[in-house]
Amino acid sequence: MWVFLVTEIMFFGALFTSYIVYRSLHSFAFAEASRQLDITLGTINTAVLISSSFTMATAVYYAQTGKKRMIIVFLALTILLGLVFIGIKVYEYYQKYVEHFVPGSSFSFPAPYAREAEMFFTLYFAMTGLHALHMIVGVGLLTWLVIFAERGRFTPAYHSPVELTGLYWHFVDIIWIFLYPLLYLIGRHLE
């Protein structure tokens, strides 16, 4: 699982690298575009995702100690928080669509450096989109775990699926931990 996660580091790493390159080339346009994002929703989503990591870790604890009810309760809580995250993200995408910040023919940007700002939003959608895709896969895996937990498949001796899905879920959380400051925070004061 860890080796898979390392390949995922490189997968997202390519996007992080392109972000660093374009930010260093067009830092002011990136800062201006970054200020168009909704910092409140971004912060709420960070808190939601961290909470989901906590409930996931707790689910792993109950899998290790073999408490079937509690495994299901905490897996379900994790799914719920994951769906809340995706829901808020969809709302943010919708806002960006209404404000014409989706890159393409309808893109418009009120300030100068419109092309560079479009680059920011391309990276914004690519990075958060790939992240959201991972969340959707994660919710799918968790649903599968709930079904298996319901059938009593997980015992203190055998619970690797819960643990490995946990690793995946925490990894996706870590990606967001970096996306949040890079996309929402660090451009706030650059003039």
């Binding site: 390159v21 808190a47 870790a57 931990i177 400051p181």
Partner: protein, 97 residues
């Protein structure tokens, strides 16, 4: 393989710390520190990632080999970023000749 069971109390402490750091990084981003803003935000992000990896992902209790795999992965990412940046950041130098 014997595994280490992390008590929920530890998870709760990490959880509260992570939320506190999130609130801190958000509040600090509203204060103008110039270039330091990015530095502070990234230091907090790295600390949060480290806490998640060490405790939620049990890396602190894992075998050396697992830890090595992760460090190696980050090392290669470091190579990719630093070699890319040595290219992009030095392209302008030629024109000053």
């Amino acid at each position: 393989m014997t595994e280490h069971i992390v008590p929920i109390r530890v998870y709760a402490i990490i959880f509260v710390t992570l939320l506190t750091l999130t609130a801190a990084t958000c509040v600090i981003s509203f204060i103008n520190l110039g270039r330091l803003n990015a530095v502070v935000a990234l230091v907090i992000a790295f600390s949060k990632a480290l806490l998640v990896a060490l405790f939620f992902m049990h890396l602190r209790y894992s075998r050396r080999l697992m830890q090595l795999v992760v460090v190696a992965g980050l090392f290669w990412l470091g190579i990719m970023i630093s070699l890319t940046m040595t290219d992009f950041l030095t392209r302008g130098w030629l024109t000053y000749r």
